[in-house]
């Protein structure tokens, strides 16, 4: 599904990723852990194709196609979707508008109202996109858009950050559904999740985990093993390992 080879990425001419190799198979979910500034968000943004993130070396392949130089919107239309950690507010554009566009793109036919109901967002549909939304509402707005987009590769940037305990199970279950539902149809969805707290692992059965430090993957293994290692020992042993 996704293959990354020797990826180097700079932001504003400052190198952030320094040679990432990563492969995510169809239907697999990987988690990314690492200290702040290690490059986790940069890796997701680079896969997504955000213009600020300049690939200086290496390649990104998605569904066998080299997408390294492909534009952001082309990648989205190819099946890559992102749940942003801090999405911007877009005044004048309604949540319903963008959800509806995504729900009917790429041959999708997703019932927006039903998804909004599941996420307790019915009353937010006519509001300006993300404008004045609380932390939990922002995450649910992101999930609504993502479910409507129906991507094959789901990138989740700290989906549990800023979310209260009431919202976390709702969000966790929805993410689990997002990652699993296409298995039912025989089409496999893959995911990469950046997480600090690991709460999301209570809802999502992740396959593999990676630790990113200073723009490099320094350790990989089973998701739970990697998370337990970090929970018990922090990133200190990873740095020694590096």
């Amino acid at each position: 599904m996704l293959k990354i080879e020797d990826l180097h990425v700079s932001v504003d001419n400052r190198p952030i990723l320094n040679g990432i190799d990563l492969e995510v198979e169809e239907g697999e979910t990987h988690i990314l852990l690492g200290p702040n500034g290690g490059g986790k968000t940069t890796l997701l943004m680079s896969i997504l194709g955000m213009p600020r993130y300049e690939v200086t070396q290496g390649h990104i392949f998605f569904k066998g196609q080299d997408i390294t130089n492909m534009s952001l919107d082309e990648r989205a239309r190819l099946g890559i979707g992102m749940m942003f950690q801090k999405p911007p507010a877009v005044r004048g554009v309604k949540l319903a508008q963008i959800a509806d566009i995504a729900a009917h793109a790429r041959g999708n036919n997703i019932p927006v109202a039903a998804v909004a109901e599941k996420l307790n967002l019915e009353e937010h549909l006519d509001r300006d996109l993300n404008y004045g939304f609380s932390g939990g509402e922002l995450k649910r707005s992101e999930l609504l858009q993502l479910v409507c987009q129906n991507p094959e590769l789901v990138l989740l940037d700290e989906p549990e950050s800023g979310v209260d305990m009431d919202n976390i199970s709702l969000i966790g279950n929805m993410i689990n559904e997002l990652l699993r539902k296409d298995k039912v149809k025989g089409r496999k969805v893959s995911g990469i999740i950046v997480t600090h707290t690991g709460y999301i692992l209570e809802y999502v059965n992740a396959d593999k985990g990676h630790i990113l430090i200073d723009g490099k993957i320094v350790c990989s293994g089973g998701a739970r093993d990697i998370f337990d290692e970090v929970r018990l020992h922090g990133f200190g042993r990873c740095q020694q390992c590096q």
Binding site: P51, D73, A76, G81, V93, I98, I101
Partner: protein
Amino acid sequence: MSIGLSYEEDLKAKAKNAINKKAAYGEDIDLSMFEEPDEEETVDELSKLPREIQEAAIASGIDPTEASRSGSFMQLDHTVIYKNIQKAYGDKLEIMDINDAMARYPEIREKYWWRAVKVDQDKYTAFSELHPVHGYFIRVFAGQKVDKPIQSCLMLQENARVQNVHNIIIVEEGAEAQVISGCTLTPQVENGLHLGISEFFVEKNAKLTFTMIHNWAPEFHVRPRSAALVDDNGVFINNYVLLKPVRSIQSFPSARLIGENSTAAFNSILYGLGDSDIDVGSKIILEGKGSSGQAVSRAIVNDSSKIYARGALESVQDDSKAHLDCRGILMSPKGMMYAVPELLSRAPGSYLSHEAAIGPIAEEEVEYLMSRGLTKDEAVSLITRGFMDVKILGLPKMLEDYISKMIEATQKESM
């Protein structure tokens, strides 16, 4: 009679004195450059007008079938070619040529004529008084709620002419009405001048929503002069939509809220295209106890256009409040936008406020929408369409949808 003559003489004298008085804002227009238009034939149905005239009218919000309107008025060049009130509304309102109205109701001249707008405001008001005019007289009778909009269309089909109109709308006590006024040109008109005097009188407990849609040409000049007087509990909503290029337009309509708890809202949607020089403002004067107002402006500056978005709030009443909200998007490095909010208070208890912002379309927002699969053009279009939010106009859904489609068409043409 002698009082009437003296009022008229006084108006003429003031107009003569002001005939060379430059307007406070906007390019000074040489009025001698334009001839007066010819007379035209009247018609008995709007739908019988030539196709290009109908199309131009439709583009400025006019429904030639009249199915969705309570009444219609149309002036082509210098002739009132059509006026009609739908049967169901015959006892609710009247629509007349302003000259016929003053002949039938002589009291109009002293009671309303130049009572909201000053005859000697500038050379354009003076010219209008000193030259033959037409225009509409619309009166909604006391207590009548007119649920379908009244439409008026002022159109020019000749080059290098000055169209000179003077309109009066009276909404009597407890009445409600919406007027949609389309001012436009046939496709062959390249240059000319439109002078439009409009005086609005909103009586006690009455409500008037006046929506003006302008469709001009790249070499055409426009100088509207409008003002409203609003009585106790009266509501005046003034909407202005400009989506086509114009050589220059300068307009600064005002509302004097003289009645207790009277309110006014000015909303404008401006799209600067080509070399358009657009200077549009609104002024709310708070005089009545409990009066309040709001002026909202949304402007997009494209190409080499210039937009001056002015807003003025003036208060002499302690128990009053008003707010200005002006936002602009500068899409072209050759364009210019100047937001000019002015607050003037002579009443310690009055609260006046404003917010103004001019900026580009945020790249972050465009990229965010692109990450959902929209192309860059689609994302920019969605954002600008949302920015030009027609809901601010407070119109019925049918008109709202109509103006939304016009904005969409303008965006497609400009991208």
